[in-house]
Symmetry: C2
């Protein structure tokens, strides 16, 4: 194998997999996303080539991975979260496959569960939620989302998003029939030491979260109430830092 | 902190988090699920107390964690996948919180993305799927699932299940309007070295997967076709063993 598409996990550098960390420590080249912790970038060998993904088009990254891979170097492509959950890992994999460059996907802990957990919220809970729906809300209009269907979906809804899109997302869910009193939480920079979170009813969550920074994650559903029960104990133990 | 609820990851022992592995290596007591790899259990200190969860009621485990936690021992409660995705971690957390035992949740790589990835399937893919729905199909009748709604849900559907329930789950989705030609895949024991997978149209997936063993994961949606494109390259590179 020459190219490893590795998930860096949700933010906290200790949440990378043991396998991913070993690969970083022995790579020739590390190509990393902006959101990846500097601590993980520092784990690469001193003489490894480090390439930041910042301000580089996806097509250029694909071509770079193919080119470096064809030279037989050991390359770690380090991506935030999991490479195959909104990580565009599939596109990089297709480019590598088309060029006959051997590669492997090394999954990572996704923000999906880890970020709600950092605020005490389990995304499933017996008797409360047995279904999880994950979408991305990164466009201003949110036109890519089927709000009519989402508003009627049972269980827990998790939205990866920028905070600026939150008021519109919440408003559209309510407009399409979601109960405006549904418990909701927004966690900003979850699992990082400067994480912040707020919770409240869906109709007020946009206002409550107005001062939080991106990236953020929205959780909508009754599991948020389980988190409200757990958070005081976790805060007292010092094992979560989110508000 | 005395009790750590740790996700062991999807099966392959190298996919535990660096933090989780460190905690196992220094614990006094390891309480572990049946599905956790023996390699991870072996990482605990020689003199650590090992308790298998096998054949023990959830209420007994909750009480055991509280009791051990109150003695101030460092306890790792090691759970398959992620503690907060169908892991009943929330119930254990509530029991610990009620007893004022300090605890922490250490997330793990969920089968949700890692198991499809082990067969080359990205659960999201640009232009193909921007939504993921996760449910559990462990009851024979599957009465807990809202098939009418699921059949109309866009994007990727992932079902954690026993193989014996698969024919009924596929049939009910079709009965409620899901296109019977929708690409589907079943991955058995994904990320383990003895993993197997099959893919085909939804109407035939039950028959194709009849010989696979549990636990298994069903993926339904057009991302399965992306996996079909990627699988030959991954098999040639020897980086997936599925099928």
């Amino acid at each position: 194998v020459t190219v490893y598409l590795v998930g860096a996990g949700p933010g906290d550098p200790t949440l990378i997999t043991a396998k991913g960390l070993d690969l970083i420590r022995s790579c020739d080249v590390l190509v990393y996303d902006v959101l990846v912790s500097p601590e993980l970038v520092d784990e690469a060998p001193t003489d490894a080539l480090r390439v930041s993904r910042e301000n580089v088009d996806q097509a250029v990254i694909n071509a770079l991975l193919v080119d470096l891979g064809q030279r037989g170097l050991e390359i770690v492509r380090l991506k935030g979260g999991d490479p195959f959950i909104f990580g565009r890992g599939g596109e990089e994999a297709l480019a590598l496959a088309a060029a006959d460059v051997p590669f492997e996907v090394v999954p990572g802990v996704s923000a999906l569960s880890a970020v709600p957990a950092s605020a005490g919220i389990p995304i499933t809970h017996r008797g409360v939620s047995a279904q999880v729906t994950l979408v991305s809300g990164h466009s201003a209009k949110g036109d890519e989302l089927d709000y009519a269907h989402l508003a009627k979906t049972p269980g827990t809804l998790v939205v990866f998003m920028g905070v600026m899109h939150l008021p519109q997302i919440a408003a559209r869910l309510i407009e399409h029939g979601k109960d405006s009193s549904t418990p909701a939480a927004v966690i900003s920079r979850g699992t990082h030491s400067d994480s912040e979170s707020v919770s409240g009813a869906l109709h007020e969550i946009g206002q409550l979260a107005a001062d939080l920074s991106s990236p953020a994650l929205l959780v909508v559903g009754d599991v948020v109430a389980v988190g409200t029960q757990l958070a005081p104990a976790l805060l007292a133990a010092g094992t979560i830092s989110a508000r």
